[in-house]
């Protein structure tokens, strides 16, 4: 079959976009940069009748930072903008790094961080770090606006908690607590510029050498970017020694349920989760201790 024909509309306001989505129902799709959506249409995995672009909505691409409320990344803020943003680089270096490690120059200049999340790929490069940092998602729909923890947002491969007519307008990331450190490691077959076969993001909060809080998220090894709660428990309240990090990494690996696909085999992924978890935790510890 040929590439489907669709209507394209670009409303100027969020409520107009919501109205267009409600009116169009299931066969309507939101588009930010289109780097996922248009590829899927081209490959005949999606057949929308109508596309609602968010690009014309003023202010939706804003990135704002405030030391009290934290960071807000608008729905149409580009991956490239997030990667280069000064406050993000300063206060959320791992958020910037994750954006920078997504795709290539061309895609980063079109694609968005929010689109990366809404696409709900288990391997989305921006999800683990943002989940680790306790990000929330701001949603507007026909019944008004609400917010949701990013943890709750992913439901399965390509499936989010969004209901018909709902749009993510932005995500918020709280200011990282004192004594915290973050890190994201990903790995793919081709070295640079490639979709991740495994990704691990973490945030640890230390008091001295003791771990007060930790979040550890593994990408591409389960139907959604996955929090490894068991592994986290092993660390909390303990001294974060190399030995404990290695044990935690093994535990994190066991919690995941990777599959074998064209990008990597399940046994390899299990192994790599452990390796990357060690690296991510060690890096985050270093940052928390002010050594990075």
């Amino acid at each position: 079959m040929p590439v489907p024909q669709f209507d394209y509309i670009a409303p100027k306001r969020v409520d107009e976009a919501v109205a267009a989505l409600v009116e169009g129902g299931k066969e309507t799709r939101v588009m930010a940069g289109g780097t996922d959506l248009l590829v899927k249409i081209r490959h005949r995995m999606l057949f929308p009748k109508r596309i609602v672009s968010l690009k014309q909505i003023e202010g939706l691409d804003a990135i704002t930072f405030d030391k009290n409320t934290g960071l807000t990344i608008g729905a149409t803020a580009l991956l490239a903008d997030v990667a280069a943003h000064r406050s993000i680089r300063r206060y959320y270096p791992t958020v910037a790094d994750a954006a920078q490690s997504t795709a290539n120059v061309q895609v980063r200049n079109m694609g968005t961080v929010v689109g990366n999340l809404c696409n709900a790929s288990p391997s989305a490069d921006n999800a683990p770090t943002l989940m680790a940092m306790g990000a929330t998602v701001n949603i507007t729909g026909p019944t008004g606006s609400h917010r949701m923890a990013l943890d709750q947002f992913f439901q399965g491969p390509g499936i989010t908690a969004l209901k018909t007519g709902e749009i993510v307008t932005s995500i918020c990331v709280p200011l990282p607590p004192a004594g915290s450190g973050t890190a994201y490691y990903s790995l793919s077959q081709r070295g640079k510029l490639d979709c991740s076969a495994v990704g691990v993001g973490t945030m640890v909060t230390l008091k001295g050498n003791r771990c007060m809080d930790v979040r550890l998220i593994v990408g591409a090894c389960a139907p959604v970017p996955m929090r490894t709660l068991g592994a986290e428990k092993m660390l909390i309240g303990k001294k974060m020694t190399d030995t404990l990090i290695r044990k935690t990494a093994q535990a994190a690996s066991k919690e995941t349920s990777p599959i074998t696909d064209v990008r990597a085999s399940a046994p390899y992924r299990w192994k790599i989760v452990a390796v990357l978890t060690i690296r991510a935790l060690a890096d985050a510890r270093k940052m928390a201790l002010g050594k990075r």
């Binding site: 040929p2 640079k192 390796v275």
Partner: protein, 756 residues
């Protein structure tokens, strides 16, 4: 040494500007009035009998103009080995059986692409599925399903080479080792997917614009399959975005475009998608390579016994040539007093493998060079030393095959050792970091004529004009490698003209001189270059005569051609401009234009190639021993391609080779489920990116090849071979893991290190 003004200089590609600005016309850019768009229906199953095809529903769709199946076309097979019709095993559309997922079953021509695609999906084919075989082992087991009735063992062809006394050789060896290597299929991944447009005129003659490396072969095979005369088919090669061996045969869309153009009276275009190319396209042969070698304890080679199974896929394609060449590449780099080769080309129910850059060499040399490194390790000899001991030198013979007229292999080895800092690095690198070496030799075109042409292998026509310009006509096909530029350079240098003085018409079978066997086996610079020189020599003879007569020169004078002038050597005032000389000749000929033909056919050059190139490459890698990931830090290359006609062009070939070799070594592979290719986009078919390219350094060894134009020989195809063995050895040096089955994936490294 003669000083050149154009040869040996960094002359930019004459097509570079048009390509960079998007003005270059490729086959898919061609649009003709009332043109139809074609689409192929392909088999969804790997092996089946076709019971029935129902095209009625598709034919009734508005906009559909023509549908054809195997029943509508002449029952004539094709293949490039015309001399052996038994090897010609392919029909343009499947007749009774399909043999791989993607086998072409029917074709639709419609008013637009969408309609053609929609119509293809409405064709109903009933298949009776047959069991399939998907690797060599399965294909060769007793009672395996037979893919072609003509080959009951599934072996379509075998080739043997033997000299010396292999058993005596092993008996006289101090050290014998036997290994089995396996190598995988990879895609040509040319940037331009295949495309063509066919037009049929009122006299029923066909013109075909097609993305091909071999317009002459396409012309001949299209004529035979359509039951037409060769001269009624005109094949034109527009700009081509790469071929690498994947575009050197007649292909079903070319046939279907021509057939349906004749049927409908309207031009028909086919353009393949990238997914079609990756899922169903030609690929490099996977091989199982069993190699036994014997050495003296000082590292001197005594004997080699090589047995290769080529996994050919469903049809022969260029497999027979690859089977033959693999045996030659097995013993081209070093002196083997005793050698035996058996190559067997095996059918499987997968997309056919075919020629691909190196034509058997990347596979064979991965095995041979890795085995050489293993032997060096066990004999306690430095890998470069053991090679120096056995290296071919000028004048060495490939027994019964050829004498190597120029060879800079020893110099290449020494230069690679020097520029890479080999000796220091081999001793002192920390774990996880290593250096390794791989080498190659390659042919400068084949001397074999299995296509059975009655024409010269290459031909050129040069027309000289009184305005000081010339027109070069040649069937040589520039597919992106830069041969148009190099042929112009050769002609401009010879006639003392500038690049811009030369107009070129190339690769149009109705307009350019017969014939040219095409672009493959690194034959173009040497063969077409020699044809150009031959024509230029005849033009020069005439012009020299004119100047000699005009100035009443003593016959002992040499006549020079330089700076657009023709003059007596040492007496520049006794001469005239090139244009004046042409006018003079024309007047003497009473108006006849000054036109000469030149040609080249290798004769008395043995069985393989008129000339051989050599080189050595060192890779340095870092291996992450926890993840198994390999980072290639740098590549050093020293190679002998004879006279370097255009350094910039050679460098481009080298970089492209390293890039392709890198993908072959590390990341590119088809993920298969039985006969189904699972990774059909560049997201999952992993070609290295620009960011993955290591820096490199290179040296060209200065040799002069007597058989080559101005001393030149092959550059850039052979170079694709050393990269994988060099990286594999570097990985071994870094980690102790020895890869004998490409590609070297992170998973294999971890398994090899016992960590997975």
């Amino acid at each position: 040494m003669k000083v050149h003004s154009i040869i040996g200089k960094d002359i930019p590609r004459t097509d570079g500007r048009a390509k960079a600005t998007g003005q270059a016309i490729y086959a898919d850019d061609i649009k003709l009035p009332s043109m139809l768009y074609g689409k192929l229906l392909r088999s969804p199953v790997p092996h089946a009998r076709i019971l029935s095809i129902d095209t009625r529903k598709a034919a009734a769709m508005p906009g559909v103009r023509c549908i054809i199946t195997g029943q509508d076309i002449p029952r004539i097979t094709y293949g490039n080995w015309r001399l052996f019709p038994g090897t010609q095993d392919e029909y343009a559309l499947a007749m009774d059986k399909v043999r791989f997922i993607g086998d072409e079953v029917a074709a639709v021509a419609a008013v637009d692409r969408d309609t053609a695609e929609a119509a293809v999906e409405q064709i109903k084919v009933e298949y009776e599925e047959l069991p399939g075989v998907f690797d060599v082992t399965a294909a060769l087991t007793k009672n395996a399903p037979v893919i072609h009735d003509t080959s009951p063992t599934n072996i379509s062809i075998d080739r043997k080479i033997a000299y010396g006394d292999i058993e005596a050789g092993f008996a006289a060896s101090d050290y014998v080792r036997e290994d089995t290597f396996t190598v995988h299929a990879v895609s040509h991944a040319y940037m331009e997917p295949c495309a063509c447009v066919a037009q049929s005129d009122l006299d029923n003659r066909i013109t075909l614009w097609t993305s091909t490396q071999t317009p002459y072969i396409v012309q001949c095979l299209l004529a035979s399959t359509l039951n037409m005369r060769e001269n009624d088919i005109r094949v034109i090669k527009p700009n081509v975005g790469g071929g690498f061996g994947g575009k050197m045969e007649l292909r079903p869309w070319e046939f279907c475009a021509a057939f349906m153009a004749r049927q409908t009276g309207r031009p028909v275009k086919f353009t393949l998608t990238r997914e079609e190319e990756l899922a169903f396209g030609r690929r490099r042969h996977p091989m199982t390579i069993r190699s036994k070698v014997g050495y003296k304890s000082d590292g001197t080679l005594v004997a080699k016994d090589l047995h290769i199974y080529l996994d050919g896929g469903a049809y022969n394609a260029m497999g027979p040539t690859a089977t033959f060449l693999s045996g030659n590449f097995g013993a081209m780099l070093y002196r083997y007093p005793n050698y035996r080769y058996i190559g067997e080309h095996v059918y499987t129910n997968k997309p056919p493998a075919s020629a691909m850059r190196g034509f058997g060499a990347p596979q064979t040399l991965f095995a041979a060079e890795t085995q050489m490194n293993m032997a060096a390790e066990e004999l306690g000899i430095d890998p470069i030393e053991i090679r120096l001991k056995n290296a071919m030198v000028s004048g060495n013979e490939l027994p019964g095959v050829a004498t190597i007229s120029s060879c800079g292999f020893v110099e290449s080895l020494k230069a690679a050792r020097r520029i890479s800092g080999w000796s220091r690095k081999r001793k002192r690198l920390k774990t996880g970091r290593g250096v390794g070496i791989g080498c190659y030799s390659f042919i400068s075109g084949g001397v074999f004529n299995w296509f059975n042409t009655q024409y010269p292998f290459s031909a050129a026509e040069v027309r000289a004009f009184a305005d000081g310009t010339v027109h070069l006509l040649t069937m040589a096909s520039d597919i992106g490698q830069g041969s148009d530029t190099v042929l112009k350079q050769i002609l401009a240098e010879t006639l003392g003209l500038k690049m811009e003085d030369i107009r070129l018409t190339a690769a149009d079978t109705a307009m350019t001189p017969q014939a040219d066997l095409g672009t493959w086996g690194s034959r173009v610079t040497l063969m077409a270059g020699n044809a150009v020189l031959d024509a230029a020599k005849k033009i020069k003879e005439k012009l020299a005569g004119a100047v000699s007569a005009r100035f009443d020169l003593n016959v002992i004078f040499d006549i020079e051609f330089a700076d657009g002038r023709v003059f007596a050597a040492g007496k520049p005032d006794r001469g005239m401009t090139f244009g004046e000389a042409v006018a003079f000749v024309q007047k003497a000929q009473r108006g006849e234009p000054l036109v000469y033909r030149g040609s080249y056919t290798p004769r008395g050059k043995g069985l393989v190639s008129p000339a051989f190139s050599f080189g050595a490459q060192v890779a340095e890698v870092t291996v992450d021993t926890d993840t198994g990931q390999i980072q290639v830090e740098k590549m050093w290359t020293a190679h002998d391609c004879g006279t370097v006609l255009n350094p910039m062009a050679v460098e481009g070939q080298l970089e492209g080779s390293v890039h392709m070799g890198l993908g072959y070594a590390l990341s590119e592979q088809f993920v298969m489920d039985g006969g189904k290719t699972l990774n059909t986009t560049f997201l999952d078919y992993k070609i290295p990116n620009a960011a993955d390219m290591p820096p490199g350094e290179s040296v060209c060894i200065d040799t002069f090849e007597p058989e080559g134009p101005m001393g030149a020989k092959e550059a850039g195809e052979g170079l694709v071979s050393p990269t994988a063995p060099a990286i594999a050895e570097a990985v071994f040096h870094a980690t102790g893991y020895r890869c004998k089955d490409l590609p070297i994936t992170p998973e294999k490294v971890l398994k090899g290190l016992g960590k997975l």
